[in-house]
Symmetry: C2
Subunit: 435 residues, 2 copies
């Protein structure tokens, strides 16, 4: 590798993010030369179709449909993976790392599932493996956890880490637009995929939370450890009640450490309107981080998109190249400090929102409330309203902190009560008080 | 230096931040050992009075009133400077760097004035000089500019980088409390100094903006290049009109690049209520960064305080120690890429808020508005209201974009108009549209 000439990188994938990477490397060549000391060129790009018309300028000679031409090219020092996918992509990257190529990836699915294996392979081969773009696109949150808050003990992270669902909930909340209609708008604007399952069911957010929890708590966290609930059951009634009670409904990833144990989940939750995350609108992302010493911080920005994500990728590339210049690649990954310990349901505490329909008869209310008081769960807020044209009343409750175990048992008992017609909805309520 | 034993650091100063540093190093010893591979101890601390009672536990043998015992101690590898002050402190740190000690400082005054000299001295001696804590305490913003957004071209930064003034403006705005009263409350709570001049006149914010502009634009920026106006002239009327027009009044540091030229300033400005900075309340800080590729990002957190600031200091210390482990100290500072080029007044564009008292007579309004239209400055909003018990009217104008030169000339002409009784106030209006 001759620093006076140039650095060659190989690109796997030339979709929206890949095109952004090509564009940024081209546009910011002067800055890259200033930072790194030599030009950076994209030598080979793996694509599915070499004849497709592209938004960015690439020479036909750069394109190939044969992955080996990229990961086996001896001139190429760094592989940038922006093709997506899991199993096949894992094999390519393991192969690249075995050939001592550094890797930058934007692939959250891959890192959530095979992150540990890939990072170990990178360290074993003296290679860097950076993946800032995999969580919250344009927000440099992984670096912040690893370097910026290196000296602190992070106890809670809450993230709006999926732009699609935040866009949908913002529109439902602001304009009362029904879910199906906003989803279509999101698809039209390119904020949602044709098959939106991974977004709206919370799986995409869960992958990002697994990655965040791993780094923030320095603990091995698997995707299966993340409890997930999506936004498809949220009704306009729930959103309206939230507002009325001073809350904003968001799809929130929560990673919480108490003592040595952690919990990680993704679910729609109610945040007080004054909480910093509550004002994160539309397709924007934000990660709220609470550290014992630093207190409350929040990092806000675009969570997706061609150029924001590509910025994170190229910033990682700059990190790899600076390390190459210093001769210290493959030494920044730190193995987890702690053994995985997950909280049991009786150790997970939250406030809860609950909306139920009950028969409008004498004593119904006290039957319900006694279920809560029997378990020592008290109320922060209660609304009771008659329902039109029915012998039913609607009761909305916000509890004080209760264990997940207690709350779920209360729910089961409520469903068994004759006066309870239906439990319409339940949500966690977060962000009241610091933790 | 023996990695199996421990790293010794020397501390200059044991005030609120210094005490926080001692506490964090003590509390997080396990994490530090995990990250660095050996314990970290504070060997010597420079204090003014060795007998003073302290909030943190320190051995009498750690304390000294003689700076040479700290910066000349051959066991000490890193000097942490949290004593404040400029001239004397500069001398100590130059001496420490000459002796090949790495330096971590929280001193914005020093870095704003002598940053370039000190960084050069550090590089010449193969030493690290880190100063994350000097801007926005607990928010790792400098790292974000240098690493996280390394591949982007930053064109605008707006910062709420002074907690005292944000606290005061939040209270004035929320509760209508008069300036003097809120200032006293801030002093009582420890958010403002006994002599609040540096905060309320915008000087503290100016120092931080000089540091941010230097890093964000990769250009030498001196403190004298920052135009400064403080908050002492803000009246409740101005705040009320802001609200009425959908704006929030904040003390904002603005660093803006257009082409190759920059402007840096600190002043009270009006932000649209929906702007991410507008919801930053009380003593919190936030830095909004616009990059050409990444778009809008914002970094939020505590701007001061013992533990948040100490977190930033110790995270910098971890950075120094990781570099020691890798043998790459003194190689992360990057010289500015660009020559300083400041915008002339005719190249600085902003919207302006203007409140004037005029004689309530026929034709007054058109005389005033024609001054604007003569220079091609149009209006976004105008309010005209009669004033009680006077033959005067109050006119409030928000202009569309105008150059600073045009606006200042219009102001002079307004003051010369006979119908204009008084120009009560003018403010920049920021954050409408992306740039």
């Amino acid at each position: 590798m001759n620093w006076l000439e140039s650095i060659s990188v190989g690109l796997l994938g030339l979709g929206t993010v890949g095109s952004g990477v090509v564009k940024i490397i081209e546009d910011h060549q002067d800055k890259l030369i200033h930072l790194i000391g030599c030009p950076v060129k994209v030598k080979k790009i793996l694509v599915q179709n070499t004849n497709k018309k592209r938004d960015v300028h690439v020479e036909p000679s750069q394109l190939t449909t044969n992955v080996h031409e990229v990961i086996e090219d001896p001139d190429i020092d760094v592989i940038i993976e922006v093709m997506g996918g899991i199993e096949q992509t894992r094999e390519y990257l393991l192969e690249a790392l075995n050939r001592k190529k550094h890797v930058v990836t934007a692939n959250k699915d891959l890192m959530a599932v095979y992150g540990t294996e890939l990072l170990k392979k990178a360290t074993d081969n003296g290679c860097d493996l950076f993946y800032e773009a995999s969580v919250a696109g344009g927000i440099p949150i992984l670096r912040t956890l690893v370097d910026g808050l290196a000296s602190d003990r992070i106890t809670k992270m809450m993230g709006i880490v999926n732009g699609t669902t935040n866009f949908i909930l913002t529109k439902m909340s602001k304009y009362g637009t029904p879910y199906e209609e906003v989803l279509k708008e999101a698809q039209r604007l390119g904020y949602a995929e044709a098959d939106p399952t991974s977004d709206v069911e919370g799986l995409d957010a869960a992958r990002k939370m697994a990655i965040l929890a791993r780094l923030g708590f320095s603990m091995e966290v698997d995707l299966e450890d993340v409890e997930v609930k999506g936004i498809t059951d949220i009704t306009q009634e729930d959103i309206d009640y939230s507002k009325r009670l001073g809350y904003t409904m968001k799809l929130i990833g929560i990673a919480h450490r108490s003592g040595d144990k952690i919990e990680v989940s993704v679910q729609p939750a109610l945040l007080p309107d004054h909480h910093p995350l509550a004002s994160v609108q539309d397709e924007y992302n934000a990660v709220y981080v609470y550290g014992e010493a630093v207190g409350e911080t929040m990092f806000y920005g675009p969570g997706a998109g061609s150029l924001p994500t590509a910025t994170a990728v190229v910033s990682d590339l700059v990190g790899v190249l600076k390390n190459m210049r210093l001769g210290v690649n493959g030494r920044s990954a730190v193995a987890p400090q702690y053994q995985k310990q997950l909280k049991a349901p009786e150790e997970i505490f939250a406030q809860y929102f609950l909306r139920i329909h009950v028969e409008d008869q004498v004593g119904a209310f006290s039957k319900i409330t006694s279920l809560f008081s029997d378990r020592g769960v008290s109320f922060e807020k209660i609304l009771q309203l008659p329902l039109k044209n029915k012998d039913l009343a609607e009761i909305v409750i916000v509890t004080h902190k209760a264990s997940k175990k207690d709350f779920e048992e209360i729910l089961m008992e409520l469903r068994d009560l004759q006066v309870v017609k239906e439990v319409k909805s339940t949500y966690r309520v977060e962000g009241n008080g610091l933790l």
